[in-house]
């Protein structure tokens, strides 16, 4: 067959039978859009979570008393530093602050701007601010979610915190976090450690926890065992534990989503199979005429494969592009609530465009190939029957 003439003929038949193909095209586009959106969110989130995990200290130590986490003595960090292999230790002051107007929580992080920071995003953040200006006035740096809430409740450029001693601490907004830090920072407020202590009621010689950096990660287990042996009332959280938490969390969300998607895809496949199994008399006649005109079974399958590839591939291209626009331009309204409902505030997440070609290829493979197979099987069954039989319908 001459390929140019064949393609011309295929485009003519698609155009003439557009109503038949339109429903297939629309349903395919929707399914590919959903699957691609899901893939894009997962890929972008994984990238952000990886950044978050990389930024975490090797080990976090928390004080336990009567089964509850309580503030830890600041002095103990010097004892940790004496353990061989521990590079540095940091007293961290942070906690959740209840924001009454919205009935939501903010995450407050107190930073000692004159100490060495062991969290990369804090280092990065401090580099972007003019410390003299920042410390000259009671300033704070807020996540985009916090900013949105404060603006909504008319706190233009400031917020008055109410610590437990019934005083008021008024902090002004210095800046908002960079968008690529949004997943970790949307509900976060960063302020000088002294304000954080007052707002969260953490005494001067106490910390929320102590973070440790370990020189050689292969020694982590040994160091962990040493701390456990010496301090039985400490809770130890490693970077791997945090990584596992997020991985499990996303696996759970992804599995649920994939299950729902899989069910809808199977339904579509069944509808499609039923539609082609009950192929109408017109289509049977069409195939029979092709056979009588000298088309082999292979020619007919070739025609139908190309026809369906054109329809499904167009749907694939449109679906993937719509998903890209939905996730990376519109920032995935609705879908981000499914994935990021664990954050305190309804966030203003900005997904950094991340397209994994393997994911795109997987969508193509797991969508188009089953669909074409399901369409072709009934056509093949008709093509192998005698044309005279098919013409009788």
């Amino acid at each position: 067959m001459n390929i140019k003439v064949l393609f011309y003929f295929i485009f003519v038949t698609i155009k003439k039978e557009r109503s038949k193909y339109l429903s297939l095209f629309l349903i395919s586009t929707i399914l590919i859009f959903i699957l691609s959106s899901f893939m894009f969110v997962v890929d972008a989130s994984k990238k952000d979570i990886n950044i978050l995990i990389q930024n975490q200290p090797s080990l976090i130590v928390k004080q336990i008393k009567s089964g509850k986490v309580i503030d830890i003595d600041e002095d103990i960090q010097d004892q940790f530093l004496s353990i061989h292999g521990v590079l540095n230790s940091n007293c961290r002051v942070y906690g959740r602050y209840y924001y009454e107007p919205a009935e939501e929580y903010f995450n407050i992080i107190g930073v000692d701007f004159f100490s060495k920071q062991n969290q990369k995003y804090l280092k990065k953040l401090i580099n972007t601010i003019d410390l003299d200006k920042f410390l000259a006035k009671p300033y704070m740096i807020v996540g985009s979610g916090v900013k949105k809430f404060l603006d909504y409740y008319q706190y233009k450029g400031y917020y008055s915190f109410r610590p437990s001693n019934r005083s008021i601490i008024k902090l002004y907004i210095y800046s908002t976090f960079q968008k690529d830090l949004n997943i970790v920072s949307s509900d976060t407020i960063i302020m000088d450690i002294s304000y954080a202590r007052q707002i969260l009621d953490i005494k001067n010689n106490k910390c929320s926890d102590i973070s440790l950096d370990i020189e050689n990660l292969t020694e982590q287990t040994t160091i962990l065992d040493k701390i456990k042996a010496k301090y039985w009332d400490m809770l130890l959280i490693s970077k791997q534990d945090i990584s596992k938490y997020y991985t499990n969390f996303f696996s759970y969300k992804s599995s649920l989503f994939f299950l729902l998607y899989f069910l809808s895809f199977i339904t579509f496949i069944l509808i499609l199979y039923q539609r082609y199994s009950l192929i109408n008399s017109m289509e049977k006649k069409q195939i029979a005429i092709f056979r009588i005109l000298g088309w082999s079974i292979l020619d007919i399958l070739k025609l139908k494969i190309i026809e369906n590839i054109i329809v499904f591939f167009s749907a694939f291209i449109l679906g993937v592009n719509l998903a890209y626009f939905y996730i990376f331009v519109l920032n995935a309204p609705i879908l981000q609530n499914i994935f990021f409902g664990f954050l305190n505030l309804s966030t203003d997440i900005h997904f950094v465009p991340t397209v994994d070609m393997l994911s795109i290829f997987s969508i193509f493979l797991f969508f188009i190939i089953p669909l074409i197979s399901i369409v072709l099987y009934p056509i093949w069954k008709i093509a192998i029957t005698s044309p005279t039989e098919a013409l009788k319908y």
């Binding site: 001459n2 003439v5 005429i289 000298g294 044309p387 005279t388 013409l391």
Partner: protein, 213 residues
């Protein structure tokens, strides 16, 4: 030369028949006698249960699907009682469907289509959609489609059954011209119009699946 030996299929029983090149054969019989089955077997799109069909000494039953399909496209043209055209396509696109299996490019295809449409005198409706044509015009398109690849054998199944008298006579004229072009033509019919045509070479009677004359 079409040679059929000891052929059995459905109602047809032990058929033996020779059809010489450039002859016009009329197969007569009542509905359900097996005329259409015989035409489908000669047309190579129905396989016999037993017996052989040879066209120009080639046993077509032994051909594989791809070879048989190409053979059909090149050597056999078929016109149905109800034409079996693609109603939603135009004349040009319908004829293109016949040309595709032979792998012609656009230039060759356009030339073939123009020649076939002019020969059957329907060139002026080249881009007309089939569903908008009259019965007589549809039959002419079906004939144009059958002759487009210049086949040796033309098969007509009840060609005048869907036509009025005027169109039936026009069809007879077309048939005579095709015979003059050297085609081997087999027509299955029970129309009395074919009883006294001078250019008919052979008439075969079929009843209950058996040749009776």
């Amino acid at each position: 030369m079409i040679t059929i030996q000891n052929l059995n299929k459905l109602i047809l029983k032990d058929i033996n028949l020779n059809i010489k090149d450039n002859t016009l054969v009329v197969v007569k019989g009542v509905s359900g006698s097996g005329k259409s089955t015989l035409l489908s077997l000669i047309g190579t799109f129905l396989k016999p249960q037993s017996g052989s069909i040879k066209i120009n000494n080639e046993d077509i039953i032994k051909f594989n699907d791809i070879y048989l399909a190409r053979y059909r496209a090149k050597h056999i043209g078929f016109v149905f009682q109800d034409f079996n055209l693609f109603e939603n396509l135009n004349l040009y696109e319908n004829l293109l469907a016949s040309i595709l299996p032979l792998g012609d490019d656009f230039t060759q295809a356009d030339t073939k289509i123009d020649i076939a449409l002019k020969k059957i005198n329907i060139f002026h409706k080249k881009y007309q959609q089939i569903s908008l044509l009259s019965g007589g015009e549809k039959q002419r398109v079906a004939i144009a489609r059958a002759i487009i690849n210049n086949p040796d054998i033309l098969l007509f199944d009840e060609p005048t059954a869907s036509l009025d008298k005027k169109n039936s006579y026009q069809f007879i004229d077309i048939l005579e011209n095709l015979k003059k072009d050297g085609k081997t033509i087999v027509i299955s019919t029970h129309d009395i119009l074919f009883d006294n045509l001078s250019f008919i070479d052979q008439t075969i009677g079929i009843d209950d699946g058996k040749l009776i004359y």
